[in-house]
């Protein structure tokens, strides 16, 4: 693939809080190329979560264009976008966000259910993914029976369920101790290196950003520096 997976073109996102307008993103341009490992860093309130929503095609900008695999997302219906997002992008959240009533296996199978993958195929793939993140013995466990690190591993396995081209991780180690956090980052790096997956990590932790090949800094809704050394600047 030659073109970027996600391309943001002069993105503005303005939240309307009563009569006050709050610009979260101000004319952001960004491209995420296939196979990259990008960290988005920025202080609290800098607009990094909003930027993540744009990259993940979870939200529409107030102004500007978001292209997902070269296609303008504003032209998609909600359902079409959901389907495309489900196929192309995987998500890992700070709060893990795995469904509490489903087992680890069922959680990992869920994105495949939404894509209409056949039952046996999704089970096989989910099992393989859970084994690859080191949860062979936890396949049939409920989230309540798993540690925080294990839950995040389930979330990572789920993010890769539909074999997406890109996985976006929002503070994936934010709720974990440093050792577990390191393991999680190693798993993500492994997927990136072995399978050539594009990884976008939002973090405020320079140690996490160090795993990436490219760091995007955001401050006051604008990208200020866009290279590997920027972690030191912040």
């Amino acid at each position: 693939m030659s073109g970027p997976i996600i391309k943001l073109e002069n993105i503005w996102k303005i939240y309307q809080l009563g009569k006050v307008e709050l610009p979260a993103l101000r004319g952001v341009d960004l491209e995420i190329a296939p196979g990259g490992f990008v960290s988005i860093m920025g202080p609290s309130g800098s607009g990094k979560s909003t930027l993540l929503n744009m990259i993940g095609a979870l939200d529409f900008p107030t102004k500007g264009k978001v292209y997902l695999k070269g296609k303008d997302i504003s032209l998609f219906s909600e359902d079409e976008l959901s389907q495309l997002r489900g196929r192309t992008i995987g998500f890992v959240f700070q709060e893990f966000n795995i469904l509490p009533n489903l087992t680890a296996l069922e959680n990992v199978m869920l994105p495949m259910v939404f894509q209409g993958v056949l039952s046996e195929e999704r089970k096989k793939r989910a099992e393989e993914l859970l084994i690859s993140v080191g949860l062979k013995d936890r396949i049939f466990h409920q989230p309540a029976e798993l540690s925080a690190g294990e839950r995040q591993r389930v979330a990572i396995a789920r993010a890769f369920a539909n074999d997406p081209e890109m996985v976006i991780a929002d503070e994936p180690t934010g709720n974990l101790d440093s050792i577990t956090g390191k393991k999680i980052m190693e798993i993500l790096t492994d997927f990136h290196q072995k399978q050539g997956k594009t990884i976008v990590v939002v973090t405020h932790d320079p140690n996490i950003a160090n795993y990436s090949e490219k760091i995007v800094n955001i401050k006051d809704g604008q990208i200020i520096i866009n290279d590997k050394q920027s972690a030191e600047v912040l």
């Binding site: 929503n53 993940g56 979870l58 939200d59 909600e78 359902d79 959901s82 389907q83 997002r85 489900g86 196929r87 995987g90 998500f91 959240f93 709060e95 966000n97 795995i98 469904l99 509490p100 009533n101 489903l102 069922e106 199978m109 869920l110 994105p111 259910v113 939404f114 894509q115 209409g116 056949l118 039952s119 789920r158 369920a161 539909n162």
Partner: protein, 408 residues
């Protein structure tokens, strides 16, 4: 299709997780459907029993009773009687071929060591037997018809089944109000258990026993001449009776119910129809409240699971997927509530039926048709889905980013 199975699994797990709330919501529907099923099956049973009884009357029979036609129950259970002169007027009316007078009341009958309350019917064996045999289909399975004036009774078929613990047999003695009577014959079934549970006595002896006036009767069954219109004869009978009363007492207001079997069937069906409508109305309110319960539960559930919905949408769930999952949840609540209501309703109706069978005065069978069960299930499923639709649509329309942001 396999997706639907997964959606069912998710919906069921969600309901299980909040099991107390789910069961309480289900209870709301159970109560509504329970009311519908128990009361409708009871009223349908009563309707069938009455119609069955009326069908045995035949088409060219007219029933004459003192009292107002508007108040059928009061008339049947009331104390008014047809006087001897009234009966004579009936007999003289043009078009009347034969008249069978009857009186009836509940009475305690002792047989061996047991006592039971049953319906005692007084009949003139000499005059009435022809009508009973020819037009009402009475026949004896054992014994013979009583001799008028003798202390002999015949009993319905139920007497050799379960009226008393010990079966009653021909030539055995029973006791009513301290007087002994001989069971001389046992009737073949008259088609309904209520009639089959009766005891039949010569009307003269009946009046001696009960203290009712000699020559009077509660009801007169009139067999009309063939080819005549039952309605026309009924009209003539009414006029003739009113004339008699006026001549005797100067009463203008004397009221007689002169009804053909078809008319009685119409009246009872109307009355029961009104009762059934009222039942449906009140039960509908109960179901509506149950439905509101489902809506409330679903809204609460969606509020609690907003983040989950956001996650599902982020990982590829379409609006229709979320809608389906929540509709399945609401549908399950409705359906389980409906099934519970049906089971409880049938149990309750059967208990009442058993009670009525133990007490022959009020015998009837409940009527639980597969149609009623199917209606209960479909209706409860519909109520569940309908009540859950608004919350489910709200969940489906949530924007993933908003759902994920909320409760952060």
């Amino acid at each position: 299709m396999s997706e639907i199975n997964e959606y069912f699994k998710i919906a069921l797990r969600n309901l299980k997780t909040r099991s107390l709330r789910s069961w309480l919501t289900i209870l709301g529907i159970v109560i509504g459907i329970f009311l519908v099923i128990s009361l409708l099956s009871l009223s349908e049973g009563i309707k069938k029993a009455i119609n069955q009884q009326l069908e045995t009357m035949g088409g060219d029979m007219i029933m004459v009773m003192p009292g107002s036609e508007e108040n059928l129950m009061g008339m049947m259970m009331g104390g008014e009687v047809l006087e001897r002169e009234d009966i004579m007027a009936i007999e003289k009316t043009k078009g009347v071929e034969n008249v069978l007078i009857m009186s009836y009341r509940g009475i305690v009958v002792r047989y061996k060591e047991e006592a039971k309350m049953v319906f005692l019917t007084g009949l003139p064996w000499d005059q009435g037997l022809e009508i009973l045999e020819k037009f009402q289909g009475w026949s004896l399975s054992e014994g013979r018809w009583p001799v008028p004036g003798k202390r002999e009774v015949i009993v319905g078929k139920q007497w050799i089944i379960d009226i008393f613990k010990e079966k009653v047999r021909v030539d055995e003695e029973i006791v009513m109000k301290g007087r002994k009577f001989k069971v001389i014959g046992i009737l073949n079934s008259l088609g309904n258990k209520s009639d089959d549970s009766n005891i039949y006595l010569d009307i003269g002896l009946y009046q001696d026993l009960t203290g009712e006036k000699r020559g009077s009767a509660r009801v007169a069954m009139v067999k009309i001449e063939e080819g005549l219109s039952a309605d026309k004869v009924a009209q003539d009978l009414k006029e003739s009776l009113q004339k008699t009363r006026k001549r005797r007492f100067g009463e203008d207001t004397a009221d007689f119910a002169v009804v053909t079997s078809e008319k009685i069937m119409g009246i009872t069906n109307n009355v029961l129809g009104i009762i059934q409508s009222a039942i449906i109305f009140f039960a509908s309110i109960a179901i509506l409240v149950g439905g509101i319960g489902i809506t409330n539960t679903m809204f609460t559930s969606i509020r609690e699971r907003t983040r989950e919905i956001g996650v599902m949408k982020a990982i590829g769930a379409k609006n229709s997927t979320v809608l389906t999952i929540f509709l399945i949840e609401a549908g399950i609540i409705g359906l389980v509530g409906g099934a519970g209501g049906i089971i409880l309703g049938i149990i309750c109706a059967k208990i009442i039926e058993l009670y009525s069978q133990a007490n022959p005065l009020f015998y009837f069978s409940v009527s639980v048709s597969p149609g009623l069960i199917l209606f209960g299930l479909t209706f409860s499923l519909f109520v569940g889905c309908f009540a859950g639709f608004l919350p489910a649509r709200q969940a489906a329309r949530l924007k993933p980013v908003e759902a994920l942001r909320r409760y952060e």
